[in-house]
C-alpha cells in the first residue's frame, strides 16, 4: 500500500509542476508540451536530484519506478492512438509532388548525416555489446524525425494553416512522421535481433502484413462502426470499450511481432475512418485524461533518466553541440534545398526548413525506446533530449524571424474576398489614400454588439473616402494541445465564425456590407493578437466594447485595459447605453492630446452625417485659466466647410468638479466622447490600469478615446479629398 501512496504523490507533483511549467512556456510563446517535458527533466537527477538529493530520493524511490513505467506506457499507447486519429488524409492536399520530394529529402539527408555521426560517436559513447548497425539506425531515425503533433499546433497558433507554407509543412511533416516510424520499426527489429538477419527481415515482413491487414480488414470493420455511430448519433460506452480494447490488442500484436507497442496503437488510430463526428468525439473523450494525467507521467519517467549532470566536461558538451548541429543541418539544409528545387521562394523555403526542424515530443518517444533497448546510453540519451528540446524551442522565434505575420496575410488563400473588394473599389471613388481608412472592431459576441458596429460604421463611412470596417473575431483555442487545436478543426471553427459574421453583417447593413470585412483568427492572447493585427493592417482606430468585469468593477480592465496600454494605434472604448441614433454629440475638453482625438472623431462623425451636432464643453475650474483649443484642432476646424462648422457649439462652464459638470451636460445627449485624461477620471495608473470614473456616471453612451499617433488621419485625409474635389 505504501508504494501506491508514493506513486500517487509523485503523480500529484508531476501534474502540478507540468501545468505550471507548461503555462510558463506558453507565456514565452513556446508549445505547452515542451514545458511539460522540461518539468519532467526538472524532477529528475538533472535538477531536483542535484539540488535536493534527499528529497528527490524520497519522492522517487527506485521501487516506484516500475509503476511510473507502467503508467507512462499506457499513456504513450493512447497518445499514439490520438496521433493516429489526427492524421487526416485531408492534409495531403495540393502540392503533393512538392511535399513528397521535400519530405523524402528531409528524411534522407538527416539520415545520412546521422549515419556519419554514428561513425564518430560509436567508439566514444557506445559499448561493444551494441551492434553498430542498430546504433547507426537509431541515430539516423532520431535525426530524421519531425514532430507532427507539435508542428501542427505551432502552425495553428500562427494562423498558418490556410497558407501555402502551412499546408505544405503539414503534408511534409505527416509523410516524414510516418516514414520515420517505419525506420524506427526497422531499427527496433534490428536492435532486438542484433543485425539485419533473417529474424529481423521476418519481423519486417510480419509488420507489413499486419499493416496491410489493418488497412483492409480493420478498416472495413471500423467503417461499420462508423456507420453505427452515425445512426446512433453518439459514442456509447460499449463502442468506446470496443475501441479501447482494439487499441490495446493492436499494441500487443505489434509488440509480439517484434516492433514496439506504440505502433499498434498508432496504426489503429490511423485506420479509423475519418468520420468527423466520430473522430472528434473519440478524441475529445480520450484526450483529457491522457494529456493531463498520463502523458506528464511519461515525461517525468523520461526525465528521471535524463542526467544533464553527466555532461561534465567540455569534451562532452562539444559532442552535444556536434549532435545538435548535425541534427539542425540535416533537417534545415535538406528541406531548404528540396524546397528551392521545387521552385519555392527563399523565405518560404527557409521557414519550411525551420518548421521541419521541430522534433519535440516524437523524438522523446523514440529516444526512450532506444534507451529501453539499450541501444543508446544515458549520456547519448541526455544529449539527444537536449537536442530535441533545443530544436523545438528554436522553431517559433525563427519562424517569426523568417516569415513574419505581415507576410502571412498576403499568402492566405481567400478567393471570395478578392471579388468583393473589386466590386467595392469600383463604386467608391478612391482619390488620394493608398490604403483605406480602417477601423478594427474586436467583437466578442457579434449579436450583442450591434451598437459597436453601428458606431464604427458611423465613424468610418464617408462618401469621399475608401473606408473599411474590420470586425475582428478572435477564437481562443480552449486547450493548448487538444484535438480542437489541430489545423483541420481550427479551420472549421474559423470558417464557421466567418460565416456567422458575414450573415450578421449582411443583415445589419446590406448596402454597405462590402465595406465591412470580418477577420477571424486563432489566438491564445487576445490583447496581443489584436494589437498585432492593428499594426499589420495599419488600422487607423481600434474600437472596443467595454470590459464586463467579473471580479473588479472596472470597465476598462481586462483585455480592454491591455489593448489601451499596448496598442500602437489610436484606441476608443465604447460604453453603449442603448441609444439608437448618434446625432447629438458632447465632447468635454481639457486640452490634452486624448481629448483632441475625441474632438477629431466627433468632427469626423459630423462630416459623415449631416444631422449631427457637436457641443464642445470647456470646463473651467479656475476663472483665470482658460484653455485654448489646440492648434491642430483649430486648423482642422478652419478647414471644415461652413455647413459643418455651423453645427459645432463651444460652451464654457465653470465648475469645481469637472466630472459632475460633464455628467450633467450629458443628460439628453446621444454620445459623449472623452479622452483618457485625469480631468474626467479616466487615466492610466501604474501597472497600466485605467480608472473609469466618468464611465460610471455618464448619462449618455460614452466613447473614451486614447490617442497614440502624433498625426492622425481621421480627418486630414477626408479634408484633403474634399478640398481637392472642390478645387477640381
Amino acid at each position: 500500500m505504501h508504494i501506491v501512496v508514493v506513486v500517487l504523490l509523485e503523480i500529484l507533483v508531476v501534474i502540478g509542476l507540468s501545468r505550471f511549467v507548461g503555462v510558463a512556456f506558453r507565456w514565452i510563446n513556446q508549445p505547452l508540451v515542451i514545458g511539460e517535458i522540461v518539468a519532467g527533466i526538472m524532477l529528475g537527477p538533472s535538477l531536483l536530484g542535484l539540488v535536493a538529493p534527499g528529497f528527490a530520493a524520497t519522492l522517487f524511490p527506485s521501487e516506484a519506478v516500475p509503476f511510473l513505467n507502467m503508467l507512462s506506457q499506457v499513456g504513450l499507447i493512447f497518445f499514439m492512438f490520438l496521433i493516429g486519429l489526427e492524421l487526416n488524409p485531408k492534409y495531403l492536399t495540393g502540392n503533393l509532388e512538392t511535399a513528397i520530394l521535400t519530405s523524402h529529402i528531409s528524411i534522407l539527408v538527416p539520415f545520412c548525416l546521422g549515419t556519419f555521426l554514428a561513425v564518430i560517436l560509436y567508439p566514444l559513447v557506445s559499448v561493444s555489446s551494441v551492434p553498430f548497425t542498430a546504433f547507426a539506425l537509431f541515430l539516423g531515425a532520431a535525426m530524421s524525425i519531425t514532430a507532427f503533433p507539435v508542428l501542427a499546433r505551432i502552425i495553428t497558433e500562427n494562423n498558418l494553416q490556410r497558407t501555402r507554407l502551412g499546408t505544405l509543412a503539414l503534408t511534409c511533416a505527416a509523410v516524414d512522421d510516418v516514414t520515420a516510424w517505419c525506420v524506427l520499426a526497422v531499427a527496433i527489429a534490428v536492435a532486438r535481433n542484433g543485425s539485419i538477419d533473417q529474424k529481423a527481415v521476418l519481423t519486417i515482413i510480419e509488420s507489413l502484413f499486419y499493416i496491410g491487414f489493418m488497412f483492409t480488414v480493420g478498416r472495413w470493420f471500423l467503417k461499420r462502426l462508423s456507420r453505427y455511430y452515425e445512426r446512433a448519433g453518439r459514442l456509447s460506452q460499449l463502442t468506446m470499450a470496443l475501441i479501447y480494447s482494439g487499441v490495446v490488442a493492436s499494441a500487443l500484436i505489434t509488440e509480439y511481432i517484434g516492433i514496439h507497442l506504440i505502433f499498434g496503437a498508432f496504426l489503429l488510430g490511423a485506420v479509423m475512418p475519418k468520420n468527423e463526428g466520430l473522430v472528434r468525439e473519440l478524441a475529445v473523450k480520450t484526450e483529457d485524461f491522457v494529456l493531463i494525467f498520463l502523458l506528464p507521467v511519461f515525461f517525468a519517467y523520461s526525465g528521471l533518466k535524463t542526467q544533464i549532470g553527466l555532461l561534465n566536461s567540455p569534451q562532452l558538451w562539444g559532442l552535444c553541440l556536434l549532435v545538435l548541429l548535425v541534427a539542425i543541418a540535416g533537417k534545415y539544409i535538406g528541406t531548404y534545398i528540396a524546397a528551392r528545387v521545387c521552385g519555392i521562394n527563399k523565405r518560404e523555403a527557409s521557414a519550411l526548413g525551420w518548421l521541419m526542424n521541430t522534433r519535440g515530443l516524437t523524438e522523446l518517444i523514440v529516444l526512450n525506446i532506444g534507451l529501453e533497448l539499450k541501444v543508446i546510453s544515458p549520456l547519448l540519451f541526455t544529449m539527444l533530449v537536449i537536442m530535441a528540446l533545443v530544436t523545438t524551442f528554436m522553431t517559433s522565434p525563427l519562424l517569426e524571424l523568417t516569415y513574419p505575420k505581415r507576410l502571412i496575410r498576403k499568402d492566405i488563400i481567400e478567393p471570395k474576398m478578392d471579388t468583393e473588394e473589386i466590386n467595392g473599389a469600383a463604386t467608391v471613388s478612391v482619390s488620394s489614400s493608398e490604403h483605406p481608412y480602417r477601423i478594427l472592431v474586436p467583437v466578442a459576441n457579434p449579436s450583442t454588439q450591434r451598437g459597436l458596429l453601428h458606431l464604427a460604421t458611423a465613424i468610418s463611412f464617408n462618401r469621399q473616402q475608401n473606408t473599411i470596417v474590420n470586425p475582428l473575431s478572435l477564437i481562443e483555442l480552449p486547450e493548448d494541445y487538444a484535438f480542437e487545436s489541430t489545423p483541420a478543426e481550427a479551420e472549421k471553427m474559423i470558417r464557421q465564425r466567418q460565416q456567422e459574421l458575414e450573415e450578421l453583417i449582411y443583415r445589419f447593413d446590406p448596402a454597405n456590407s462590402y465595406q465591412i470585412q470580418p477577420i477571424v483568427r486563432i489566438t491564445n492572447n487576445v490583447a496581443r493578437e489584436t494589437t498585432q493585427i492593428a499594426h499589420i493592417e495599419q488600422a487607423n482606430l481600434i474600437l472596443l466594447g467595454w470590459h464586463r468585469p467579473a471580479f473588479s468593477k472596472n470597465r476598462l480592465g481586462g483585455r480592454v485595459g491591455q489593448i489601451l496600454s499596448t496598442a500602437d494605434v489610436d484606441v476608443a472604448v465604447y460604453i453603449d447605453r442603448g441609444q439608437q441614433k448618434i446625432e447629438s454629440i458632447l465632447v468635454p475638453f481639457s486640452a490634452n492630446i486624448h481629448d483632441d482625438l475625441a474632438i477629431i472623431l466627433a468632427l469626423r462623425l459630423l462630416l459623415n452625417k449631416d444631422t449631427c451636432t457637436v457641443k464642445i464643453l470647456q470646463v473651467v475650474t479656475d476663472k483665470h485659466i482658460k484653455k485654448e483649443l489646440s492648434y491642430e484642432v483649430q486648423t482642422l476646424m478652419e478647414q471644415l466647410p461652413s455647413s459643418v462648422r455651423e453645427r459645432i457649439y463651444v460652451e464654457t462652464v465653470e465648475a469645481v468638479e469637472p466630472i459632475q459638470a460633464v455628467v450633467a451636460a450629458s443628460e439628453g445627449i446621444d454620445l459623449t466622447i472623452a479622452g483618457t485624461s485625469r480631468a474626467w477620471g479616466i487615466e492610466r495608473q501604474t501597472l497600466g490600469r485605467y480608472t473609469d470614473q466618468l464611465a460610471i456616471y455618464c448619462r449618455s453612451s460614452l466613447l473614451i478615446t486614447r490617442r497614440y499617433s502624433p498625426v492622425t488621419a481621421h480627418l486630414t485625409s477626408v479634408l484633403a479629398d474634399m478640398h481637392s474635389q472642390v478645387a477640381s
Binding site: 527506485s62 545520412c112 561513425v119 559513447v125 559499448v127 566536461s313 534507451l371 544515458p378
Partner: protein
Amino acid sequence: MHQFNVKSLTFYAVAITSVLILFKVVTAYGESQLKAPKSVFGKYYITLAENLSNCKQNTLVLDIQQSGIFLNASLSTPTNQKISTHREKNPSLNGKFNNNSFSLSGRVDNTRLCNAIPETLQASLVPEGGLSGQITFKDVPKSIKFNAILQKPQEQSTQSFK
C-alpha cells in the same frame, strides 16, 4: 505528366537506393573497423590486497556507470551501502575508459576506510570479468592493489535515480 511521373519515380528509386547502399557501406565499415569499448557497467566488490594500517576493513564497492568511454563511478563501503542509497551513489568519480583499462579520480566525501579517503583509482579488465588495479588514498604514500569481482549487472532502464 506520365513522363514526369516516371522521371520522379526513378529519381526517388535512385535516391533511396543510394542511401541504402551508403548505409550498408557505412555499417560494414563500422562493424569491422569501429570498436566500442567493452562494458564495464555494474557493481564491483573490491578486495584490497593489503590492509591499511590498523584497519580491519578491506572491502569497497565500486559502482560504475558507463557511457562509452566516459565513466562515472561512486565508491562506497559495504556497510553504508544499504543505509544511504542516494548519497553514495551520486557518481563522484569520473574518468575515461581506454583499451580495457581506466583511471578514475574525483571527490569522495562520504566514504572512508578507517578514516582514509580514497582519491584515485586505476584498473584494468581481467579476462574473467573482474577488475584488478590500485587505489591511492589521501595522506597514504603508496597505492594499494586490489581485485574486484562484478557483483551483478544493473539494469540500465531501472537506473532511474539512486
